[in-house]
Every structure is written in structure tokens, then in C-alpha cells.
């Protein structure tokens, strides 16, 4: 009975937290880590209608504005994860080496409790990515953690640039070459998948252009080229309308993709994982490519055996736009700690380390003008911490998205699920101790192709 009442109550939460709603909040007297404008002590942050209105001492707000006392606490921009798979119900369309036409935005699950748990680690925005089974995977979705809504539309970060997932190395080679006997089985084959896909897209574009130009000619009897969604998306990449995010590990394959992109005039590129990015850091910097890396994951598969936890530091020092990502529903809960590891491994300054989880990933997602720092006019996405967010002893206190409190440690219920499996009287325990948690990129592929294998990253 209690349980039924609980479901009943949960049913009404979304109504009280109407999602796209934006709020007014005054955060008083915190140590404000602006990221782009230094550290401001004893400073207030005023959010109105979901946007940062003012930053400064002794701010005042109207009486209906909620006021939070952040004395002794640290106020920073909401954390941004440039690589995750939370909040989506499907990750891999592992049926073809090229699946540009699919979009994880069609599989958004706003009820995923993992979104709440990310909020409880100060994360307000994440990049819900397609998996890494295919050389050219599906399109991804940048989501705002407006937990409480049941409407997938409300989770999308409207206006965020389109992004797509590419993948190099072992994953596409294993899924298609090894398991299905299809190209690519080698890193040579992976290169040709890209060259072939973009060459076809170019012909498609030429045919469309030719048709359009010929339409004015009365004697022209031709028909439009057959519509092809896959080629449409690839054409949009060539036109620079989609940012490429490429799963990669080894230096040679990273260098290969840079050559391919240069040949096809594609400039918007952020490499993901990029464990050996440190070996080609000068090339990445020269191309203007971003790198979104793990703080310390290595050795879980052969292509990450020659890694170093100093990757983020070496990339940063070589001028590469670098971020730290999670690729994991677990790790996303403590990205602030992952960023801090760059201080143990390479001694980045506080602000350099914090940039890795704020303004840098924002720029990599093309939303650096809206989030990733505390500046007047930007979205009211704020995370408040009990101690400096790079300290191992810090505890996230509150996460605000568009001026609405979505996580508050003081008002945190045990069970924050929005959707409950009606067949189970209690949520079930499963043994995380047996789970290897790396690289959710291959989620779904395990079930589709390998049955279950513990080593599916």
C-alpha cells in the first residue's frame, strides 16, 4: 500500500516541477569560481528568469526570489560532461559501419534516475552520445538535466549545435570486421569507411546542386536525386553544420582522421577518450581539434595500454582544448574529483582543472556562449559545493538548472526514481562488484552481438 501511495506521489512531481520553467534565485555570500573571471570571495549571484542577471557583493532581489545562503561554500558553473550515455534508452545502432541517419535524440528517457545522480554530482548538462560500434555512428543530443519532467522534449538543450559520433580502432573493427566479416577489420579499413562515406555524400551534394541549377532550364527533364537521410546528414557534416565527436584511442588513428577531415574540409572536431592524444598533441593543437579525455582510465583493453594519467595535462600544456568526461553513469557523479586528478598528475592550477569540466566541454559542444562559466547573461546553471570542488572532501550541496533547484542535499529523498518497474515490489540489487564499468560506448552491442561479455568496452 505504501508503495502504491509512493507511485501516486511520484506521479505528481512532474507537475510541481514543470521542466522548461526557469526560476529566480539569489545565491548569497559564496566563494564564486567564475572560471572566466577569477575567484570572487563573499560574492552573490542573482539568477532571474533562468539567466544570470548579476554577480557582485550585496545584491538584492525582489521578495519573491528564493535566497540561498552560501556562506563558507563554493559556487561554480554547473558541470558539463562532453561524453555520457545517461538519459537515453538506446546507445548503439550496431548494424552498419555507417549509421549517420540515426539519432539518440529519438530515444531520450527523461525518467532515468541516472540524470538525478549526475545532478547530485553538480552536473547540469551532458552530451548523450551514440555508441562506438560504428565508424560513423548516430547523432547525439546535448541534454539539460531538468530532472522531474516526463517529457523528452523538455530535456533537450534547445539551440545546442548538432553533433555526431564517430569511432576508430578496436570497437568498429570488432563489431563489423571480427564478428560479421565486414569492413572494417583493420585501421586501414576504418580510414576507407570515412573516405567512401564522404565521397558519396559529395556526389550526392553535387547531384542535388546540378538538379537545382538545371531546374531553371526549360528543356531539363531530369528528376531530383533520390532522397537519402544518411547522405543528408553526411552532407551536413561537410557543410560544417554538425560537430564531429570521435571515439579514438591510438595516436596513429587520431592522426589518420585528421588527414581525412582535412581532405574533406571538415574543421569542427573533438576527439573523445583520445588516450594517446598526448602523443600527437602538437598536431591536435595545430588543427584546432578538441580532446575530451578520461582522467585516469587505462589498460582495460589493449589500445589503451600505453596511456598516461598525465594526458589531460600534456594536452593542455600543448594548447589543445581539453575536457574530462565520464562515459559512465557512475563517474559522471564525481567529475569534479576526476578533474582534480590533473593536479596530482601534472599539477594543473585550480582554474585550469575546473575549465576541464566547465567552459572547455561547453566549447567542444558549441554551447560555450550559454553555459560553462558564471557570467552575466549566461544560463542560470550553478553547482554549490561544501568545500573547494577539487578537494577530495568536498560534498555537492545544490545543483541549479535554469534557476531551478534540481538537487538539494538538504532535501534529498532516498528514492528519487520517477519510473518504477511495476513487476518488482522493490528495486532489485545487482552486484556492481562484478561489473566492469568502462566505456558505456559499447552498451547494447553486448546484448545484440555477443550475448553478455564482461569485457564489452
Amino acid at each position: 500500500m505504501k508503495f502504491i501511495i509512493k507511485i501516486f506521489i511520484l506521479l505528481f512531481i512532474p507537475i510541481s516541477l514543470s521542466a522548461q520553467e526557469s526560476g529566480n534565485i539569489l545565491i548569497k555570500n559564496g566563494t564564486v569560481l567564475t572560471i572566466t573571471n577569477g575567484v570572487l570571495k563573499n560574492t552573490d549571484v542573482l539568477i532571474q528568469n533562468g539567466k544570470i542577471q548579476q554577480i557582485g557583493p550585496n545584491l538584492r532581489a525582489s521578495s519573491n526570489t528564493k535566497t540561498i545562503d552560501a556562506t563558507g561554500q563554493y559556487v561554480m558553473p554547473g558541470i558539463i560532461d562532453a561524453h555520457s550515455h545517461i538519459g537515453i534508452d538506446a546507445v548503439n545502432e550496431a548494424t552498419n559501419p555507417v549509421t549517420a541517419e540515426v539519432n539518440v535524440g529519438d530515444a531520450i528517457n527523461p525518467m532515468a534516475v541516472s540524470i538525478y545522480r549526475a545532478l547530485a554530482g553538480g552536473v547540469s548538462v551532458s552530451h548523450a552520445m551514440h555508441g562506438s560500434a560504428n565508424a560513423i555512428g548516430g547523432q547525439c543530443e546535448t541534454i539539460k538535466h531538468r530532472y522531474g519532467t516526463w517529457d523528452p522534449e523538455e530535456i533537450r538543450m534547445k539551440g545546442a549545435p548538432r553533433t555526431i559520433k564517430f569511432a576508430l580502432g578496436e570497437n568498429p573493427m570488432r563489431v563489423h570486421g571480427e564478428r560479421r566479416g565486414l569492413q572494417p577489420k583493420t585501421r586501414m579499413g576504418v580510414e576507407q569507411i570515412f573516405r567512401s562515406a564522404f565521397s558519396e555524400a559529395k556526389r550526392y551534394m553535387d547531384a542535388q546542386k546540378m538538379h537545382k541549377q538545371s531546374m531553371g532550364n526549360k528543356s531539363y527533364k531530369g528528376i531530383a536525386p533520390k532522397y537519402n537521410e544518411r547522405l543528408e546528414v553526411l552532407a551536413d557534416i561537410l557543410r560544417g553544420e554538425i560537430i564531429v565527436h570521435c571515439h579514438s584511442y591510438r595516436a596513429d588513428e587520431i592522426y589518420m582522421l585528421l588527414q581525412v577531415l582535412e581532405d574533406f574540409g571538415i574543421t569542427k572536431i573533438c576527439f573523445q577518450h583520445v588516450n594517446e592524444g598526448f602523443k600527437v598533441a602538437p598536431e591536435l593543437a595545430a588543427y584546432g581539434a578538441g580532446a575530451s579525455v578520461f582522467a585516469d582510465w587505462w589498460a582495460y583493453k589493449f589500445e589503451v595500454y600505453y596511456s598516461t594519467a598525465y594526458n589531460a595535462t600534456i594536452l593542455t600544456r600543448n594548447g589543445v582544448l581539453t575536457s574530462i568526461n565520464s562515459d559512465s553513469g557512475e563517474l559522471i557523479r564525481h567529475l569534479y574529483h576526476e578533474a582534480a586528478k590533473t593536479q596530482r598528475y601534472g599539477g594543473l592550477s585550480d582554474n585550469e582543472a575546473l575549465k576541464l569540466i566547465t567552459i572547455n566541454p561547453a566549447k567542444q559542444l558549441g554551447i560555450g556562449n550559454r553555459v560553462g562559466s558564471l557570467e552575466v547573461g549566461k544560463d542560470g546553471d550553478v553547482a554549490i559545493f561544501s568545500a573547494h570542488p577539487l578537494s577530495v572532501y568536498t560534498i555537492p550541496q545544490m545543483t541549479i538548472v535554469d534557476g531551478i533547484i534540481r538537487f538539494d542535499v538538504e532535501n534529498d529523498d532516498n528514492d528519487m526514481r520517477l519510473a518504477i518497474d511495476p513487476e518488482e515490489e522493490m528495486s532489485s540489487f545487482f552486484d556492481h562488484q562484478n561489473e566492469k564499468n568502462h566505456d558505456k560506448c559499447m552498451e547494447g552491442v553486448a546484448e545484440q552481438l555477443f550475448q553478455f561479455s564482461a569485457h564489452n568496452h
Binding site: Y116, R117, A120, F278, K279, A281, P282, D296, W297, W298, A299, Y300, K301, F302, Y305, Y306, S307, T308, A309, Y310, T313, I314, R317, E330, L331, R333, H334, H337, A340, K341, Q343, R344, Y345, G346, G347, L390, V392, Y393, T394, I395, D412, N414, D415, M416, R417, M426, S427, S428, F429, F430, D431, H432, Q433, N434, E435, K436, F452, A454, H455, H457
Partner: protein, 429 residues
């Protein structure tokens, strides 16, 4: 990155080539007398003091005011902190090199009942992950077989040496994965009834094995000649209470069943895992069994659990009167142990208890309370020197001593940093 001393030693003694990636470390391990001068000494068992530590013959021979022997190497530790080396209560370090390449994974032998297989046999002293681990201040770990009901025998090893015997730190335990009715993973589609049934079957199997083991031990005690039974042989010392059983149980029901089983069979036991320990703290405390738990940085056990349950579990148990040891349960990233302890400290355990959970508690639970886990005269010289709190993320480990050997603060990760921070050639051909 590198300490000047090591560079000099390298050039003086080693014909190795710098760029060789097969090398784990460039500097050599050094044994001798060392005086670690003018540090803040965190003894763990006897409070903090300012002073020096003398290491002689692999042991701590003086703490505080130290008379410096003329032959001793002097290590200036002004402004630095001395702690006992951290101990990880559960890893597969040295057994698993690259987990997705199955032939490099020696942690999981075939068979449900293999208590006789020894982690100490398969531990690779030259695993790349070992230097990567110790440069973060972890000097000693349990390395354990996994998989099956009785996966094998775990060993405590020091992270220095080129043979298992050089590494062995004096403690072994037979592993038991207590039969469970929980889901194995998120893809486990067995019904609750099926899971219960299979769990029940496994309990019966365990009891049958235990009966046989007791009989076997009895026969041996009576001087009877038995058939070659290496698996049952491995349980004789467990039945006699000489070797502890390290029992992995995570779900609430499984922990309670394990406690009951231990009581009934009067086994010397250490519990491990206990990710739902917070649900049964009183039973754990009443049973008086130590618990090795971790990692903290894992998901809460159930979807309905508070987001920070896994962070706070160790603290809830320790505050409830359970003796807690922290583990990473990792192979390549055992180096995160200090951060696991830091999270436990922040979420209720407190810094002092968390430090004990990775030092003296571990030593005591492994029966080595007089050998390891604190800075005290007579103990094995497993010592780290840091520039601050060893759990704090940005802290640097400056010097490492394991079993009296001064070990370079180098690993493949630091060597790659040295090579690539300013790559040469850069962009030029």
C-alpha cells in the same frame, strides 16, 4: 617528476636506453639505512609528532629524535609528511594486465571449487600497473583470485621485488564467494524465484564441500593417508582455524546468511564487499567480523537507494562498530585507493578512521598488527613521504619505502609524461 638523485644513479649504473618503454622504472631500488629528517610524522597508532624516522635493515628502528648513523642516506623531509604505506584490502593487481585480452587475465581459473590455486603464483612482479600503483602511496595490497564459489587463495604482497617470494608480505586467505540470490549484473534476466533456487543450490554445494573438508581434515589429523585432493587440502588449515576465509557477500540477505554460516561452522572469517552493509550494521557489529569494503566510487546498490549510499557505506559500518578495511577492488587503477578513502572520510567515516581503514586496520585484520600499518619501532619500513594529506587529490608522493627499499617515484605514466610534455620533434619533420 624525477628526483635528481635517481637520474644520477641511472647514469652511473644503468646501461638501459631512456626511450625503452619496456622499462618500468629507470632508477634502481636502494636498500640501506635511511634517515627521513624533520617531517611531520603521522604514526596512526601513536598520534602525530615532528621529527625523523630511521630505517635500518628494512625496519623502522627509531621514530622522533633520531641519532643519525654515519652510513645512513639522509632524506630531507622538511615541510613534508610521513605516513605508513597504504594497504589495499582487495585487488587483482598483478593478475590482470589488460582485462579485455583474456590471455593476460590470470584472476579467474576454471571451476567452482579451486581454493588451492594461488594468486601468489600468477602475480606478475613486472606488471606495468605495479609502479603505477605504488607512486600513489600504496605499498601493500591483497591480490585475490575471482570467480566461482571458492576461487582460490589470496595473498598480501608488498609492491617491490622481482619474484613473488620477494613480494610476499606474510598473509594468505582462502576466498569464498558466498552463494547469492542477487542479480549478477543489469542484464541478468532470471526471475526472483530462479535466483533464489540457484542460490539455495549453491548453499547446499557449499555445505557439502564444507562437510567433506571437515572429514578430510579429521582424517589427516588422525594420520590417515588420503587420496590426492589438492582442493580439500587447501581447506584443512581453514577448517583448523589457522587460515581465514575471506567471504565476499554484498546483498543484505547474503551478508546475513554468511554471518549465520560463519557462526554455525565456527570459521575464522573476514567479510568482503558488503555493499549493503549499511542495511545490516547491527548484525555485522554483533557478529564481530571485520569487513573489507569498496570501492566507494560505485553506484548505490539499488535504484531506490540514496545517491550517496556507496560513498557513505564504509562510514555507516565503521560508526556502527564494525572494523572496516577499505579496498579499491581494482587491477589497473588500484592507485585510486587514497581517493576511495577520502570519499569514505567525507561521507561520514572521518579522516582518522579512514586512514586507519587503509593502514592499521588492514594490518590487524591480516594478523600483522605488529608488522605493518603504522610508524612504530620494529615494524617493516613501508613508508610514504608526501607534501600533504595523502587522500587529498592534488597531494604529491615524494618518497616511497617498501620493505626497507627506497623505490623511485616513477612509472610508465610518469615516463610518458617526461617524453611527451614537450615532444621532440614537435611539428617539424
Amino acid at each position: 617528476m624525477k628526483i635528481l638523485q635517481y637520474i644520477l644513479i641511472f647514469f652511473a649504473t644503468s646501461p638501459l636506453v631512456f626511450s625503452s618503454l619496456s622499462a618500468q622504472q629507470i632508477g634502481k631500488n636502494i636498500k640501506g639505512s635511511f634517515v627521513l629528517q624533520n617531517a611531520t610524522i603521522h604514526t596512526v597508532t601513536k598520534g602525530n609528532l615532528t621529527g625523523s624516522v630511521l630505517i635500518e635493515d628494512g625496519r623502522i628502528s627509531a621514530v622522533g629524535a633520531v641519532t643519525t648513523p654515519s652510513s645512513a642516506h639522509i632524506v630531507d623531509c622538511s615541510g613534508l609528511h610521513i605516513y605508513p604505506g597504504l594497504i589495499d584490502g582487495g585487488t587483482t593487481l598483478g593478475l590482470t594486465e589488460v582485462s579485455s585480452v583474456s590471455l593476460t587475465d590470470d584472476s579467474d581459473e576454471i571451476g567452482d571449487f579451486t581454493p588451492h590455486v594461488q594468486s601468489l603464483t600468477a602475480v606478475n612482479p613486472n606488471s606495468v600497473a605495479i609502479p603505477v600503483t605504488r607512486v600513489n602511496g600504496i605499498t601493500t595490497v591483497i591480490t585475490k583470485p575471482t570467480g566461482g564459489l571458492f576461487p582460490g587463495t589470496a595473498s598480501l604482497i608488498n609492491l617491490v621485488g622481482y619474484t613473488p617470494d620477494q613480494m610476499y608480505a606474510g598473509f594468505k586467505a582462502v576466498m569464498l564467494n558466498f552463494p547469492s540470490s542477487s542479480k549478477r549484473n543489469r542484464w541478468d534476466r532470471r526471475s526472483k524465484e530462479d535466483r533464489k533456487k540457484e542460490g539455495g543450490k549453491a548453499v547446499k554445494k557449499l555445505n557439502d564441500i564444507w562437510k567433506k573438508a571437515k572429514l578430510h581434515a579429521d582424517l589427516i589429523s588422525k594420520g590417515q593417508k588420503t587420496e590426492y585432493n589438492p582442493d580439500l587440502d587447501a581447506l584443512v588449515s581453514v577448517v583448523r582455524g589457522q587460515t581465514p576465509l575471506m567471504i565476499e557477500a554484498n546483498k543484505k540477505d547474503d551478508i546475513l546468511a554468511a554471518i549465520k554460516w560463519v557462526r554455525k561452522n565456527k570459521v575464522k572469517a573476514i567479510l568482503s564487499g558488503c555493499s549493503e552493509g549499511f542495511r545490516v550494521v547491527d548484525s555485522l557489529a554483533a557478529a564481530g567480523l571485520p569487513v573489507i569494503t569498496g570501492p566507494m566510487m560505485t553506484m548505490p546498490p539499488r535504484g531506490s537507494d540514496r545517491y550517496d549510499r556507496a560513498y557513505s557505506n564504509a562510514g555507516i559500518m565503521s560508526n556502527g562498530g564494525v572494523k572496516v578495511v577499505i579496498r579499491s577492488n581494482q587491477s589497473e587503477n588500484v592507485r585510486n585507493l587514497p581517493f576511495e578513502a577520502g570519499f569514505a572520510a567525507a561521507y561520514g567515516m572521518g579522516k582518522e578512521e579512514a586512514l586507519k581503514a587503509v593502514t592499521i586496520n588492514a594490518a590487524e585484520v591480516f594478523g600483522l598488527g605488529d608488522q605493518l600499518g603504522s610508524i612504530e619501532v620494529g615494524k617493516v619500513a613501508n613508508i610514504i613521504v608526501t607534501d600533504g594529506d595523502p587522500f587529498e587529490t592534488k597531494t604529491q608522493v615524494k618518497h616511497i619505502f617498501i620493505n626497507g627499499w627506497q623505490v623511485p617515484t616513477e612509472s610508465r605514466h610518469t615516463l610518458l609524461y617526461d617524453e611527451f610534455i614537450e615532444r621532440s620533434p614537435g611539428l617539424d619533420k
